[in-house]
Symmetry: C2
Subunit: 167 residues, 2 copies
């Protein structure tokens, strides 16, 4: 499918191959009656820059660099923004096996599989994407990891729930 050159706003979807932009995301929010504020712009810019999933505190502290006046957005603000983006399927919570949550934008540019060290917590975004079982050993060898396991879960709406609210 040739990519449309969207001069118009067509809100990006989770399964869209197209990378998210500040403009596109802004438009996605606007079209829902939501407002683009300094905080939100800063948070989005942090997420757009991210090379790996970020925790709420990371997002909060990095947002300073994009905010005017160097104001740090409140923690609750970051929390609510991420909950909002998740709701709109523009961002995802990533399971890194930690107590707290990590987030990434839901486009293909930012969605990666990750290699997490259970010891030091290092997160390595993977380039590949293939059969899991087979890959486990390859990934282990390639990255010099040991005791590699994987966690693979699917999320979606079941038939019953799909018929209910269209969402």
């Amino acid at each position: 499918m040739p990519r449309s050159h969207s001069t118009h706003h067509h809100p990006p979807h989770a399964d869209d191959a197209e990378p998210f932009t500040l403009e596109g995301l802004t438009e996605s929010l606007r079209s829902k009656g939501l407002r683009m504020t300094g905080n939100r712009r800063a948070i989005l810019q942090v997420l757009l820059q991210a090379e790996e999933p970020l925790g709420l505190e990371q997002i909060q502290s990095e947002a300073v660099r994009y905010a005017r006046g160097g104001e740090t957005p409140d923690f609750a603000t970051v929390f609510r923004m991420m909950a909002l983006l998740e709701e709109l399927k523009l961002a995802r919570k990533v399971n890194l096996g930690r107590a707290s949550s990590f987030f990434e934008l839901a486009d293909s540019r930012h969605h990666r599989d990750h290699l997490v060290c259970t010891d030091c917590g290092t997160v390595t975004p993977l380039e590949e994407s293939c059969p899991v079982e087979t890959l486990e050993r390859q990934i282990a060898r390639k990255h010099g990891y040991t005791q590699v396991t994987h966690s693979l879960e699917f999320f979606g709406r079941c038939g019953d729930c799909s018929t209910g609210s269209p969402s």
Copy 2:
């Protein structure tokens, strides 16, 4: 590879194809100087029976059925038992996208990929295990789910950490 008919105890490992048994698990604990108590036996039986990952409260409440005298083990006891099994790599925490944790035994009989409904939370263990990207649509169609996404993470010890403690 022909399966050995283990009359002897050889503690089961995480990547062992052989299903866990109450006896084998008991021996695994014993060999570590740990004790097999009524609580633990009950919890293990719950896990052995499970067809899908269970939360701590589920484990606790179902344990009643295996405990003598119908005593419910304390929540903390269940928590500590699961932490222990995780430590020994006999059980795993599973990411179901919920706030609380879910567990399953770490053998092939119990380790499954899952399909989780983001709406009602229904957990469907999958029989298949193949390339993720390709499978997403197939799984969606087969189970009547929509908006299917997946979460795939790898866990292990990185080179640096591997050299440190042997664990």
